[in-house]
């Protein structure tokens, strides 16, 4: 019987009729960044998809390696081997150097696998552990010619090492020669290392001799090492020629990306000649080494083969690059760009391929065909590509693009909104000057002048910032800023912009609901069609004001006994219990943007299971392991009474007044309705300020600085939902302390619907809109003790902080005023 290996589905002969047995190498955490990234995200399904691509591109066997620092190799491998063996038809090569891991994988693999690898580096210890396993499970094995002195460099040493391994495996353990696949190793001849000039020759000779001296054994080789250090398009040619030569010498199997092998017929005679000269170190020009000649040749020409190969795949590099951006796929973008650079200028590549690709991404997003997280992945590839091209650009080339200045306004530290706008605009080819947070109008004016920008974009999180925007309009007017102003941020509305901001400035003032509205505004500006925001009651309509309708507040409800009066801080809170309070729906769909959109319910469930939940699990793990989250609370209970629409709160000798608005329409509610008057005996009110600390914010910024846009949005979203979860959790702690924690919600929907006694109102929300109340809250709770401070815009720093007033009255629920 011919030597073969097998999966659950099929047997594959180790000796193929035509050409070598090809081993796919992209499912290797050390060799493929894409695979590693998916693995680090625990996204095994995506790992599988990479394996399936390899299978589709013609691999006969799939190398699978999950050894990566910081990961649990055994757990990863078991998971992957299970998944791969049921879904991939070609046999697996279990790539591990840990005997225990090899054994466990062989145990569960349903076919005949190849193990990669054994060697004699440790003088023969591990090989003696692995060989019995090979025997038990009938596996084949890759044997590397490494001995106690290191990797064998010369043919003699390679053959001697192979012989030693042969004697152990066949002699001591009774394996069959055909179970052994010797890898005679190869080293690069592309880096100019004089001692390696004959590396290809040594390897080819060793292959010949191993085949001749140890009849029946197989040979295998990681072919692409030969060309390490050379330009990508020339590597493909050299690898292909070397593979051909190695097969002539007797090579049975090659570890190589099957999609990247060129048939010799696709290589021009000149290219072939140059490669052979380099491989066999044939000096034809006394002044130039074969390597120099090879390099110079490929600096001058794009090999025809590169175009050919693309044509055989029916995709030109232009199309490939476009698709990489649209798919948010980083794999091979450098190779593709380097090919494109031979044909076009860097600027032309950006303008004719990259920018149109991003525009297409924007259109897909606008139609609901793709989701925000995928837009950010595309933007990451865009950013990498532009960074790659920058050294190739002439300085003058950048002169004519539209320039936008971005800033978060005075008193406001919120920067993710502005940064997302930066990401979208700059990766659509515009020049963005992102000057930062807490920017006074004066600085904005100065910078806009100095940088000669075409538009100014302002951002802010809270209503206070909206008011800053309104108040600075006349300043921009007086200073003669003279360019359109785009306004964005969660607390803004088109109505506010049209009625409050537009009148102060006589150039266009434009409300932007999101970053794409900003992009559209910039394009409209270029087209000369940018319009000031208007607001029409007839068209837009006033929104409803939700709240309980037929409610008569009971005045006689008992006042609970507080555990203490005054304020306290708690600084040693275990973060783990907070996770179960995270509102996953709001996180996945709202903060992260993984909405259902046009997907079927099944496709959406798949997306959540395969992509979103693994990421979520990873963040929870990091939050704990990397110490990203440190929950701390400042809170307190105080005597109080209501007088009309004002709550009087007693803190020792001090009295703080909290005025609240009252609904203009029935049932005319006001928060004070839930507290007793002095005549009714007064009441108890509670407050809290909770934070998960500054570390996660730092980690988030680091991602932004590294241009990891997708993970940036994800970690930020996670951090803010965790903050909300903490508020939910702490509110529950306080209900228990008050002795009103009897009827608690059973699940998260219960928390969303406030199925507990009482309510907490966050300052700044409709029933208590006045953020200046933070001054009194801070005077009472002194949250500085847990590292929280207030900006002059009444924002709390760190951002991942939230405050509330807690009412115990059972009828107290959210309502809008």
């Amino acid at each position: 019987m011919k030597p073969s290996v097998a999966s659950l589905y099929q047997a594959v002969e180790l000796k193929q009729d035509v050409g070598p047995l090809l081993v796919g190498e992209r499912t290797n955490a050390n060799g493929s960044k894409k695979f590693r990234d998916r693995l680090l995200e625990n996204d095994y399904q995506a790992c599988l998809a990479i394996g399936q691509e390899q299978e589709a591109s013609g691999a006969h066997v799939l190398d699978l390696c999950a050894a990566y620092a910081g990961r649990d190799e055994l757990a990863d491998m078991l998971e992957l081997v299970r998944l791969f063996s049921s879904s991939i038809k070609i046999p697996l090569m279990i790539d591990s150097t840990t005997p225990a891991c090899i054994g466990e994988c062989l145990k569960i693999y349903p076919g005949r696998a190849i193990v990669n690898s054994i060697n004699l580096e440790d003088g023969g210890v591990n090989i003696r552990k692995v060989c019995p396993m090979l025997k038990t499970y009938g596996a084949a094995v890759v044997a590397l010619t490494i001995n106690a002195r290191g990797m064998a460099m010369t043919a003699d040493d390679k053959v001697a090492t192979a012989r030693e391994i042969y004697d152990i495996a066949v002699g001591e353990f009774g394996l069959r020669p055909q179970d052994l696949m010797f890898d005679a190793l190869t080293f690069t001849i592309g880096a100019g290392d004089e001692t390696l000039r004959d590396a290809a020759v040594q390897t080819l000779n060793a292959i010949k001799r191993i085949k001749a001296e140890m009849p029946g054994v197989m040979t295998i080789l990681g072919v692409s090492n030969i060309s390490f250090g050379l330009a990508p398009h020339s590597r493909k040619v050299l690898n292909s020629v070397f593979l051909h030569e190695a097969v002539q010498a007797g090579l049975d199997a090659a570890i190589i990306d099957a999609g990247k092998v060129l048939p010799l017929s696709k290589i021009s005679p000149e290219d072939l000649e140059l490669s052979l000269d380099l491989l066999y170190d044939r000096v034809k020009d006394p002044l130039k080494s074969p390597l120099m000649r090879f390099i110079e040749h490929y600096q001058a020409h794009v090999p025809e083969t590169a175009a050919d190969e693309a044509a055989t795949r029916a995709r030109r590099p232009e199309q490939i690059m476009f698709d990489l951006i649209v798919d948010g796929d980083k794999d091979g973008f450098e190779d593709t760009l380097s090919i494109l650079l031979q044909r076009r200028s860097a600027l032309a590549i950006i303008n004719d391929i990259l920018v149109p690709a991003m525009r297409h991404v924007g259109e897909l997003f606008g139609r609901g065909d793709i989701l925000l997280p995928f837009v950010l992945k595309s933007a990451e590839v865009m950013k990498l590509s532009v960074t790659y091209l920058e050294p190739h650009m002439e300085k003058v080339e950048a002169a004519h693009v539209t320039k936008i200045l971005l800033a978060t306004v005075q008193g406001d530290v919120h920067d993710i909104g502005k940064n997302l706008v930066d990401i979208i605009l700059s990766n659509n080819g515009y020049k963005v000057y992102n000057i930062g947070i807490k920017m006074p109008a004066e600085t904005i004016i100065e910078k806009a002048r100095e940088l000669k920008v075409d538009l100014v974009g302002l951002s802010g999180l809270l209503v206070k910032s909206a008011i800053v925007m309104k108040e600075s309009m006349p300043l921009y007017q007086e200073a003669g800023l003279g360019v359109p102003i785009l306004l964005g941020g969660a607390a803004l509305t088109p109505k506010f912009v049209a009625q409050e901001c537009v009148p102060g400035y006589n150039h266009p003032v434009v409300y932007c609901s999101d970053a794409f509205a900003g992009l559209k505004a910039v394009r409209d500006f270029e087209a000369g069609t940018l319009k000031t925001t208007t607001w029409d009651l007839q068209v837009q309509g006033e929104k409803l004001k939700p709240g309980l309708k037929n409610i008569e507040v009971v005045r006689t409800h008992p006042v609970p006994q507080p555990p203490f009066l005054g304020s306290r801080v708690v600084t040693d809170i275990d973060p783990t219990p907070l996770f179960s309070y995270i509102n996953e729906q709001a996180l996945f769909r709202g903060r992260w943007g993984y909405r259902r959109a046009k997907q079927t319910a099944e496709a959406y469930d798949q997306l959540i299971a395969n992509e979103v939940r693994p990421l979520y699990a990873e963040f929870k793990r990091r939050a704990i392991q990397d110490g990203l989250v440190r929950p701390q609370a400042a809170y307190g209970y105080f005597r109080c009474h209501s007088e009309g629409d004002v709550l009087h709160v007693q803190d020792g000798d001090a009295t703080h007044l909290f005025p609240f608005p009252r609904q203009a329409e029935p049932p005319h509610l006001c928060i004070t309705d839930f507290f007793r008057t002095p005549a009714e005996g007064g009441d108890i009110v509670a407050f809290f300020v909770v934070t998960i600390g500054p570390e996660i914010d730092k980690a988030t910024h680091a991602l932004y600085d590294a241009n990891k846009y997708h993970d940036y949005l994800m970690l930020h979203g996670f951090s803010v939902e965790l903050t909300d979860a903490f508020a939910e959790y702490w509110h529950q702690v306080m209900r228990r302390e008050l002795g009103i924690g009897g009827a608690e919600p059973e699940n998260l929907t219960g928390f969303v619907n406030q199925a507990y006694q009482g309510s907490r109102y966050g300052f700044g929300y409709p029933a208590c809109p006045d953020l200046d109340a933070h001054k009194a809250v801070f005077a009472m709770l002194k949250p500085e003790r847990i590292g929280v401070t207030l900006t002059d815009g009444m924002e709390m720093v760190p951002e991942q902080t939230t405050s509330a007033i807690v009412a115990h009255h059972p009828q107290a629920k959210y309502f809008a005023v």
Binding site: L544, P546, G547, A586, E602, Y604, D605, T749, Y814
Partner: protein, 58 residues
């Protein structure tokens, strides 16, 4: 559309679920009102998000 076959929708901002069988008493919406028939002024009763912030539930 009849109320029992009508789809539920979830607010992506806060996780509130609009169930047509229950309607929305906070906004005076009677039971049996399909999401698609809500007035355009209707907002999420919990977080005041607008209707385009709702996803159909499977």
């Amino acid at each position: 559309m009849n109320a029992t076959t009508a789809k539920k929708y979830i607010c992506v901002n806060c996780g509130y679920i609009y169930d047509p069988e229950l309607g929305d008493p906070m906004n005076n919406i009677p039971p049996g009102t399909a999401f698609e028939s809500l007035p355009k002024e209707w907002v999420c009763p919990i977080c005041y998000a607008m209707q385009d912030m709702f996803d159909p539930l499977s």
